[in-house]
Amino acid sequence: MTSAEKYATAAYLVVLAVVLLYLVIYAFKLQRLSRDVEEIAELARTRSGAPETRIPGE
């Protein structure tokens, strides 16, 4: 592999790596949002005194 080929490949890999990193960060964010939804649902149940219901699909 020539020097030019290495640099060109590196440029493309950097872009792909950053996009992948962004997706990983976004996945963590979705996990946090999911936990927040659970927490708020629990809070709402406690306040209303309603029994726990399962979310369809879980």
Partner: protein, 212 residues
Amino acid sequence: MLLLAGIALAFYWVPMAPLEGFRQRIFYIHVPVALTAYACFGWGAWKGLRLLWTRDQRHDLESYTAIHIGTIFGILTLVTGSIWARTSWGVWWSWGERQLVLFLVLFLFYSAYFMLRYSVDPGPRRANMSAVYALFGVVLIPISFLAIRLAEDLIHPVVFDRDVGTNLAGSQLFTFVVCLAGMLVLAAALYLNELTGKRVDARLRELRESLA
């Protein structure tokens, strides 16, 4: 898919450039990334203008998200540009190049947007300040874009010229357009995902406050 197709075309289909050789293939990722960064900053400024015009706070989050995504593409522009500079000029950065320095100024300007935004409490005042700042930044985009043509001591290559049109062959232009379309679609997907996430986050915060 468009982006992957563009990358495949850039590596396996486009003929080798006579002067630049293999390193010319960086062009197909670097320029679309840079144009996408400009598009994101421009979209952020447009949403800022819409906010100031309509006073609809919805545009604040859209402007912020566009600038957020634009900053990511700005980092990629600087990194891929540096890689190209290293292989072409033998240096990672040249302070004498107005195009590079102006893009860096644009990038730093929009990076400071986040400092401004988070130094003010959430509300209409922060939204208005952010919108005005985003609008000021958009002035730098045409300057940064035209710097390459205005510079006299130029070593940054000019591909699209007003007099001769494009310096690209048919296959090169086609690959460039596919890569650009792919990059814009990627940015749009990231923007919509990020925007949805931020909206859900804000809504959950409101719900939590109302339930507490």
